[in-house]
C-alpha cells in the first residue's frame, strides 16, 4: 500500500514534469521541469532498491548535466521559442501518433494474465556489489567509456572555443622587456 502511494507520488511528478517540458515555451522552465523529473526518478530507483544508482542519478544527471544545460541557456540568453510552419505540422501529426502508440503499449502492458510483482526495495544495489561487477565483468566497457569521456571533453573544448584562440593560442599581453621595445620604437599605438 505504501509502495503504491510512493510509486504514484514519484510517478506523478515524473509525468507532470515531462508534460511541462513539452508545454513550456521558455527553455529555462523546460530545464527546471527536467530536473524535477530526474529527482523523482531517483526516488523511483530508491523504491526499486537501487540506492547507489539513485545517488549517482542525483549527483551526475541532476547535479552536473542539468547544470550544464542551465549554464548554456543562461550564457546564450535563450528566449521564448516561436511557432513556425514546421512545428504546427509536427504537432498535428506527431502528438496523436505518439498518443495512439502509447495507449497501445499501455494496453498491452496492463492487460496481461500473469503480472509479476516487485516488492519495495527489490534488488539492493550495494556499492560494493556494483563495484565488483563494474571492475570484473564490465571492465572493458568501463575503460572504453572513460576514453569516450576524455574524447568528449577534448571535443567540447575545441568546439566551444573561439576560432582565434586556436589560430593564435599563446597570444598574451607583452612582458616588461617587450613593452619597453614597443614604446621605444613607437609601436605601442597605431
Amino acid at each position: 500500500m505504501l509502495h503504491l502511494i510512493l510509486f504514484l507520488f514519484f510517478g506523478t511528478i515524473c509525468v507532470a514534469g515531462a508534460i511541462n517540458l513539452l508545454a513550456q515555451s521558455h527553455p529555462i522552465n523546460s530545464a527546471l521541469s527536467l530536473i524535477a523529473v530526474m529527482a523523482s526518478l531517483a526516488g523511483e530507483y530508491l523504491l526499486l532498491g537501487a540506492e547507489f544508482v539513485a545517488a549517482v542519478q542525483v549527483i551526475v544527471y541532476a547535479g552536473a548535466i542539468m547544470v550544464l544545460f542551465v549554464i548554456t541557456i543562461m550564457l546564450l540568453n535563450a528566449g521564448k521559442e516561436e511557432r513556425t510552419q514546421g512545428s504546427r505540422v509536427a504537432i498535428l501529426i506527431g502528438v496523436p501518433g505518439v498518443l495512439i502508440g502509447g495507449v497501445l503499449v499501455a494496453w498491452t502492458l496492463l492487460h496481461r494474465p500473469d503480472m509479476q510483482t516487485v516488492p519495495i526495495g527489490a534488488l539492493k544495489g550495494d556499492p560494493s556489489d556494483i563495484a565488483r561487477l563494474l571492475f570484473h565483468d564490465f571492465l572493458l566497457p568501463f575503460e572504453v567509456t572513460s576514453v569516450l569521456i576524455l574524447i568528449a571533453i577534448m571535443g567540447a573544448v575545441v568546439l566551444a572555443s573561439r576560432p582565434e584562440a586556436i589560430a593564435r593560442p599563446h597570444r598574451s599581453t607583452p612582458g616588461p622587456q617587450e613593452t619597453r621595445e614597443l614604446v621605444a620604437t613607437g609601436k605601442d599605438h597605431r
Binding site: 515531462a18 523511483e44 509536427a90 498518443l99 510483482t117
Partner: protein
Amino acid sequence: MIPLSYYLLLSGILFACGVLGFLIKRNIITIFMSIELMLNGVNLSFVAFAAQWHALSGQVFVFFVMVVAAAEAAVGLAIIIAVYRTRETLNVDRVNLLKL
C-alpha cells in the same frame, strides 16, 4: 508489491514524452533535453528489469548510459554554442541552409 508493468508503463510514458519533445519543439536546447528525457526513461526500464530478474548488471548498465549521456550533452552543447555564434539563432527551422 506492485506489478513490474507499472514501472515499464512509466518508462514508456517518459520515452513517449521525449519523442514528442524531439518532434514538436523548435528550440535546439529543448530538443536536447528531450533526448535526455528519453535516456532517463530507458534507465528506469533497466533498473526495473534488474529488480525483476535479480541481475545487478541492469543497474551497472545504467552507469554506462549515464556516462554516454554526459558525453553527448557536453559535445552537443558545445556544438549548439558554435552554431549560435555563426547563425545568431537557436531555432532549428532557421538553421536549414548550408549558406550562412
